[in-house]
């Protein structure tokens, strides 16, 4: 699925990460069950989910990042 999205869009890149070889990454993202997909280092999808659900997670992650970028700065 991840590779399919990367092939479909130049804005997407997909890494398959073997958790045993990179335990620091697995710890950082709390990988206890696989497959686990981390989206832009912030959102996650655990397990194999239907295509529409996965795409929704991707667009939601982008929307949340956009909301954070648009939020007014906290008063000092």
């Amino acid at each position: 699925m991840a590779a399919d999205l990367a092939i479909a869009s130049p804005r997407v890149r997909a890494d398959i990460v073997e958790a045993g070889e990179f335990p620091d990454l697995a710890r950082r993202f709390n990988v206890y069950a696989v497959p686990k997909t981390v989206i832009n280092g912030t959102s996650e999808v655990v397990g194999a989910v239907p295509e529409a659900s996965f795409v929704q997670s991707v667009t939601a992650a982008l929307a949340a990042a956009g909301d954070e970028a648009d939020a007014p700065p906290a008063p000092s």
Binding site: A3, R13, P35, E51
Partner: protein, 150 residues
């Protein structure tokens, strides 16, 4: 000793022969090239990965293997978003940003095979809604799919 059993090798050979559309390059990054092992480097993981890739490439004339060093070619590694090794970029007509980080050991060789075939076909079996969503993305997306060898 081969990593792929005879049965697995025949399975891979058959699927590559029947399903590949465009040629695919496996661009492998190791910490260093030429068999040099650096302190702290997991030489075994690198060597296992190298051997598995060589075995897979040996099963199809449409699959080639290139090896690079992250240490001596840091600009290339950065350009290809390779920050950790061992890493394999799977490249077809274009570089679609598909990477495998780590050893494609155990049955993970099937995952690598599927990446090769997906990149080769370059026609992802996605719904029209998904394709539209991908065309309308308003930002960059980095997907990291964690797997473990079984």
């Amino acid at each position: 000793m081969a990593f792929l059993t005879d049965t697995d090798a025949e399975f891979v050979r058959r699927r590559l022969t029947q399903e590949m559309v465009n040629d695919v390059r496996l661009v492998f990054f190791a910490p260093s090239a030429g068999g040099l092992t650096l302190p702290g480097e997991d030489a075994q993981a690198v060597e296992y990965t190298r051997q598995i890739l060589k075995e897979m490439v040996g099963l199809s004339g449409r699959l080639t293997l290139e090896e690079h060093s992250m240490i001596s070619e840091p600009d290339l590694a950065k350009q290809m978003n390779i920050e950790r090794v061992p890493a394999t970029a799977v490249i077809g007509l274009e570089d679609y940003g598909v990477r495998y980080f780590g050893i494609p050991g155990g049955y993970e060789f099937v995952t690598l095979l599927e990446l090769i075939l997906d990149v080769s076909k370059a026609a992802p079996p996605l719904s029209p809604d998904t394709l539209a969503a991908m065309a309308g993305l308003q930002g960059d997306v980095h997907l990291q799919v964690f797997v473990t060898p079984t």
